[in-house]
């Protein structure tokens, strides 16, 4: 039985449809991440799950029970908000205990819960402070503590880390992951940060314009994207989309890419990644998707032979990130991004020889942006 099931949910504000037929099922103990650009309806979906906004159509089930028309209080859900939404007039302790007090939990149990949560999140010394006396990171912890004090069926996190600075964000990300592993709770977590999504999720739902485009494990969403949007949204730097023409026949498809010279670059399409759909697109333009890490440098000094088609081109920009090197290299009229190891000697303006690893390439239909192979 699913911890949470959403069936054909729609939500309209006036005449604009913000959620368009969302269906989703989450297993107990699962960490599901909703990811998508700002304004795609993530918060609206969260508010609908929490019961803060009624849905226009569809059903919502928690633990098998229809809760579509239950109030937030009746749903057994706790939520962490982006702005933390702490009660400014109450101390940290009172903030944490408020939900238990309202639910008439006996005092002894309440104190036990505060002690447990405070230790878990290391906020024991802050218990008697007011929210205004806390730093951003501390407020974030208190907001989580407030949710963890009760033990509801589902936790909702709406961009809980987006108000923290970069370093703290990474730290808290790890802590949330640890918490989930330790407590085994069911979590629905919203973010617009695809790295957060990749690192935390059991499964990721990629949303756009009120629709779920793909629902799958981080690996599926990253390596096997359903369409151009998902492919481009997940991964940083983004996937390269290269205009190509499909040629050949089943068993020996090729992609030819115009690189400005006399001869196009010809990339053989791996036979094991063929799909039946390809045959209808022979001779037609397609979009080839290659991630920056699908390229490697052909380096005589290193001596080892790398698999893949050779691509001779010119480096235009070099961006060292420390761990590795991001290059912009020319590809005909346009440029693509390539990720190389830190040992690379690439210099802007100089020629460079790259190998293209086609075994993880993806193909899209340029008009509908849907996946071909």
């Amino acid at each position: 039985m699913s911890a949470l099931e959403i069936r054909n949910v729609r939500k309209t504000f006036g005449t604009t449809e913000v959620l368009k037929d969302i269906s989703l099922a989450i297993d107990s103990g699962e960490f599901l991440i909703l990811v998508g650009p700002s304004g795609c309806g993530k918060s609206t979906l969260m508010n609908a799950i929490a019961g803060l906004e009624p849905v226009t159509a569809g059903e919502m089930l928690i633990g098998g029970e229809d809760v579509t028309w239950r109030t937030p209080a009746e749903r057994d859900i706790a939520m962490v908000f982006q702005s933390y939404a702490l009660y400014p007039s109450m101390t940290v302790r009172q903030n944490i205990v408020f939900g238990l007090e309202v639910r008439k939990v006996p005092k002894a149990e309440r104190e036990e819960a505060v002690a447990r949560v405070a230790e878990l999140l290391q906020i024991t010394p802050l218990l008697d402070r007011k929210p205004s006396q806390l730093s951003g990171g501390q407020r974030q912890r208190v907001a989580m503590g407030r949710a963890l004090a009760r033990e509801p069926q589902i936790y909702l996190f709406d961009e809980p880390l987006s108000n923290l600075d970069a370093k703290l964000r990474v730290e808290m990300r790890t802590e949330i992951k640890k918490l989930h592993q330790r407590l085994g709770t069911t979590i629905v977590y919203v973010t617009h940060d695809q790295i957060e999504a990749m690192t935390l999720a059991d499964r990721i739902a990629v949303m756009r314009d009120g629709r779920i485009l793909q629902l799958g494990t981080p690996d599926e969403v990253y390596n096997d994207p359903a369409d151009i949007f998902v492919a481009g949204f997940m991964g940083s730097p983004s996937m390269n989309f290269i205009r190509a023409t499909l040629a050949g026949q089943p068993g020996s498809y090729r992609l030819s890419v115009d690189v400005g010279g006399e001869q196009p670059l010809v990339l053989p399409w791996p036979a094991e990644r063929e799909t039946p759909a390809l045959v209808r697109h022979v001779g037609e333009p397609v979009t080839l998707g290659l991630r920056p890490e699908h390229f490697s440098e052909e380096d005589a000094r290193l001596g080892d032979r790398i698999e893949g088609t050779l691509l001779n081109t010119t480096t235009t920009v070099v961006e060292p990130t420390g761990a590795d090197l991001l290059l912009r290299v020319a590809l005909g009229e346009s440029e693509i991004t390539v990720r190389l190891g830190p040992k690379s000697r690439a210099v802007p303006g100089e020629p460079i020889a790259l190998r293209v690893d086609m075994s993880r390439a993806v193909l899209f239909e340029p008009e509908t942006e849907s996946r071909l192979a």
Partner: protein, 292 residues
């Protein structure tokens, strides 16, 4: 020290000197009536008739104040303003408390439990701020009659509450708009209902706007004359009406000192409120956002 760098040419200095002189004169002109009132109220009657209005008193006496408070005649009765002062108190306190509370509840419902037509509702309430007192006199008298509240303190309280709600709702609505909705959502998920959220979450952060509302309503209701004269019974007249009667009751000589003392007594509470809480009034008007 102010925080401005000014030109230091002789012309500029002269201009500033002139400016301050002008300001000083204006301030004196503005202050003069109050000075005259205070001085007059402290003089014996003979001195007033003998001397000029502005001369300093030869002998100070509180007799006029005591008379205005305790024995001056207001129409038929000669018991001073004290009773009417208490009437005003017993009108103002419930009226201020109720209108502030209702305004807070209205503002809360209009911003945090947005129902269909909330905006229209607010627009109509806002309209209430612009209805002149005189317009409602007749219908209000009729209504009070139907309710059996004519000529009573409760009736006056009701009138002031009804008239004040437009203003207090406006204050609280505009304040609560800036309270983050997520705070209310969090409380709903914690299981709190409409009134618990109001008492436990919202009211504790409403200090500044409660101050504004109380000061505003207090001065409005205390200083009201028209509703008092129109709707009060013989026993429930507020001090403003009594002051008018005191000044207009002639028993031979015109007792300017008693009149002045009476006026001071009637005006004192609002002055005190301003002095004590004026700065919170200004702060509350500009306050809004609740820092999490």
């Amino acid at each position: 020290m102010d925080n401005i760098i000014r030109r230091r040419t002789p012309g500029a200095r002269l201009l500033r000197a002139g400016l301050y002189a002008l300001l000083l004169v204006m301030a004196l002109v503005y202050l003069l009536p109050l000075v005259v009132m205070v001085l007059t109220s402290l003089k014996p009657l003979e001195e007033i008739r003998a001397g000029g209005l502005l001369s300093l008193p030869d002998s100070l006496t509180l007799a006029a104040w005591l008379k205005a408070w305790g024995t001056a005649c207001t129409g038929m009765r000669c018991e001073g303003l004290s009773g009417y002062f208490m009437n005003s108190v017993s009108i103002v306190i419930p009226a201020v408390a109720i209108s502030t509370l209702v305004g807070a509840l209205n503002g809360y419902a209009l911003t945090k439990w947005r129902f269909r037509g909330a905006n229209l509702c607010f627009a109509m309430l806002l309209f209430g701020c612009f209805i002149p007192f005189q317009v409602v006199l007749m219908p209000m008298a009729q209504t009070l009659g139907w309710l059996g509240l004519a000529s009573s303190t409760s009736g006056l309280v009701l009138v002031h509450v009804v008239y004040g709600i437009a203003f207090t709702t406006l204050f609280f609505r505009n304040y609560y708009v800036s309270v983050p909705d997520e705070m209310i959502s969090a409380a709903k998920l914690d299981g709190a209902g409409f009134f618990r959220i109001f008492w436990r979450i919202l009211l504790p952060v409403s200090g500044p706007i409660i101050t504004v509302s109380v000061i505003w309503q207090f001065t409005q209701i205390w200083n009201d004359f028209l509703f008092g004269v129109a709707f009060a019974g013989f026993d429930s007249q507020p001090v403003t009406v009594a002051l008018n009667n005191l000044v207009n009751t002639s028993t031979g000589v015109k007792e300017y000192n008693v009149d002045m003392a009476g006026a001071m007594i009637a005006a004192l509470p609002t002055l005190v409120v301003y002095v004590l809480a004026g700065k919170y009034f200004v702060r509350g008007l500009t306050a809004g956002s609740v820092k999490g």
